[in-house]
């Protein structure tokens, strides 16, 4: 019974496919999984938009949207109808073809990332051996779409937003990759299912998640920072900084094309949170061995939504960074720490079992963090900037 609840979607897929002739079965199975992904995540996106607005409102001591349907829960439907019926404006001097392709390219590239994410036990569309690599390749190609959007709009704000986006995404891509590499070093595989399987073991009732190791915790924090920057979320939302750039790279988009950008941003958030959960939080495995009876896909989606909640929470708390702070933070603070973390991971790998590696690895990371934090915060690049004529 428990197994059936865990495998309910897999069994459903097998059952539906069994009606078809043998030659078509494999194709139909993939098609069904794709349909599931294409339905579930935009549905989650619709829910997230309304929960984000309500959550932000609560953080600011407001009520938030509550007019459409009970407690405003139907707001996304109203928003969807609005964006579908709005006029689709393309600037006269814009490069119409590229302008049209940019949002499509973004959404397609983001959707591709979900193909390799294991969303439950045996629930992965393509179990690639190089799943992590594939995921990063796909998430990196969103940058092209963003730049296409900014470039083709022929608008200075769009172009500035796109330039910022590309600079930021490339800088943080490095951190994102390097912080995941430590997981690959310990897990010994680029396949995401194998990485989850390695974490799905328990000592007593406690799981072997990578976040519960010194290098894993450090890696997870740096991964979270890079993921926030990678998805252009506050406090790293400079590419669309509405106070200075109107709306950044999607200034010239309206109607459903804008909705696609919006969708792309949230889907990127889901996929990168899903990857974070897979790499550091044990993917679909239960947080305690006694909770193993809960279906694995519930754990995966709860971890996903928890990360989304933290994203929203951060957006409600932190002000936007300045461009120079952003770049300095990536290249001078997070990147050196990531490299150090790689070395610490190697040390962890070769020191063998025992308490010694815990002490040594934690000490190295902690000292590096404190010293770098204090030295860097004292340097001119961080902290409040003083203006010569304004003081």
């Amino acid at each position: 019974m428990i197994d059936q609840a865990d495998q309910v979607f897999v069994l459903l897929q097998h059952w539906l496919v069994s009606f078809l002739p043998a030659g078509l079965q494999q194709f139909a199975a993939v098609l069904l999984s794709v349909i599931a992904i294409v339905c579930v995540f935009p549905g989650l996106f619709a829910l997230t938009t309304v929960f984000e607005r309500k959550g932000l409102a609560r953080i600011q001591n407001r009520i938030g949207p509550n007019r459409v349907g009970p407690l405003g829960i139907l707001q996304p439907i109203a928003d969807g109808i609005k964006s579908l019926t709005k006029e689709d404006v393309v600037p006269t001097s814009a490069n119409a073809g590229v302008h049209f392709l940019a949002p499509l390219g973004l959404v397609v590239a983001v959707f591709m990332g979900f193909a390799v994410l294991p969303m439950g036990r045996n629930m992965v569309l393509v179990d690639m051996d190089c799943g992590l690599l594939f995921f990063f390749a796909m998430s990196a190609s969103t940058e092209v779409s963003v730049f296409m959007a900014g470039w083709s709009s022929r608008n200075k704000y769009s172009l500035l937003g796109a330039m910022r986006a590309v600079a930021q995404m490339i800088s943080y891509e490095v951190v994102l990759l390097l912080s995941s590499v430590s997981v690959v070093m310990i897990g010994g595989s680029l396949s995401l299912t194998k990485i989850v399987a390695a974490q799905d073991q328990y000592t007593g009732i406690f799981p072997h998640w990578y976040i519960f190791t010194p290098w894993g915790l450090a890696g997870f924090i740096m991964y979270a920072i890079a993921a926030t920057a990678e998805t252009n979320r506050s406090p790293f939302d400079l590419p669309e900084g509405e106070s200075e750039l109107v709306a950044g790279y999607h200034t010239e988009y309206s109607g459903f094309k804008f909705a696609l950008f919006f969708l792309g941003e949230y889907l990127a958030m889901f996929s990168i949170s899903g990857l974070g959960a897979t790499l550091f939080l044990g993917g679909w495995s239960a947080p305690l061995s006694i909770l193993n009876w809960v279906p694995s896909w519930i754990w995966f989606f709860s971890k996903l939504m928890l990360s989304i909640f933290v994203f929203i929470w951060m957006r409600g708390t932190l002000p936007r960074l300045r461009q120079d702070q952003l770049m300095n933070f990536a290249w001078k603070f997070v990147l050196p720490l990531t490299l150090l973390n790689l070395m610490v991971t190697a040390l962890w790998r070769f020191m063998g079992e025992g308490i010694a590696r815990w002490i040594v690895c934690s000490a190295i990371l902690l000292v590096a963090y404190v010293v770098m934090g204090r030295v860097e915060m004292k340097s001119e690049h961080f902290g409040p900037r003083s203006y010569r004529y304004a003081d």
Partner: protein
């Protein structure tokens, strides 16, 4: 001089405090100041905040807001307007209306169409036509009344000058603000029927002011009545004294002086 780095100290500060009846405006907040401004010393290397500590403090603060807004009414101050509303304060004013006294709005209007408000109105939004006939006012004296009294509230600027110049306490400020209409011209030009509101209504919206006005009117009425009574008495006395008028000349003179 090298600019100081680091975040400094947070202090409480306060500026612009007003406090008058019914309205309290106060700006209070916190401000970051330099260590030197605070009079302290530069912090030691180890005493300074850890990088990221501020973020955690901020997150704690917003989490407190998030959770608090579900449990404490004090935090969630939103008034969901069409369903719930806070009562308007007594001194609130929007557009003028005409006061009437008795049950019938047309007969009871205090306005005597003297047209002072029409002349004083800065944006010229009052249009009055004086009646040809007369009717008795609240003291029983025959007075003209407005055959037409229109106020264009799309022009009115709520300055209250018409109220201040009116010698008859006939025009007062209303606090009705939900006047939106889809008829841009006709809907915003209020005629005397729409403008007429009872004295009881006036008491409801501005109780203190209405009581003062009533007292003043009663006093005036009493004065007029006393005067009329005195005049009547004097006339009666005169009438009584008439047969002996020739005999008592100084008395008549005195009476005349009083009248």
């Amino acid at each position: 001089m090298k600019p100081r780095q680091g975040w400094g100290t947070q202090i409480e500060w306060e500026c612009l405090g007003f406090d008058f009846p019914g309205l309290r405006i106060e700006t209070r907040g916190t401000r970051w100041i330099d260590e030197r401004e605070a009079g302290g010393e530069e912090p030691d290397f180890l005493e300074e905040d850890l990088l990221g500590e501020g973020i955690l403090k901020g997150m704690a603060e917003t989490a407190k807001n998030f959770a608090g807004s579900f449990v404490s009414k004090e935090r969630l101050t939103t008034v969901e307007y069409p369903e719930e509303r806070i009562p308007t304060i007594e001194n609130a004013r929007v557009f003028p209306f005409l006061v009437y006294d008795t049950g019938d709005w047309e007969a009871g209007l205090r306005c005597v169409a003297c047209q002072i408000c029409e002349k004083e109105c800065p944006p010229k939004c009052i249009y009055i036509e004086k009646s040809k006939d007369k009717k008795p006012d609240y003291v029983g004296k025959p007075q003209a009344y407005p055959a037409r009294f229109d106020i264009d509230i799309s022009v009115c600027m709520s300055c209250q000058i018409c109220v201040e110049v009116c010698p008859f306490e006939a025009i007062k400020m209303d606090n009705e603000f939900e006047l939106a209409t889809d008829d841009r011209f006709g809907g915003l030009l209020l005629d005397r029927k729409q403008l007429a509101k009872s004295n009881e209504y006036y008491h409801q919206i501005h109780p203190t002011e209405a009581a003062e006005v009533d007292a003043r009117l009663a006093e005036e009425k009493a004065k007029v009545e006393a005067k009329a009574k005195a005049a009547a008495e004097a006339a009666a006395a005169k009438l009584a004294a008439a047969p002996v008028a020739a005999a008592a000349k100084p008395e008549t003179k005195k009476d005349g002086g009083q009248g």
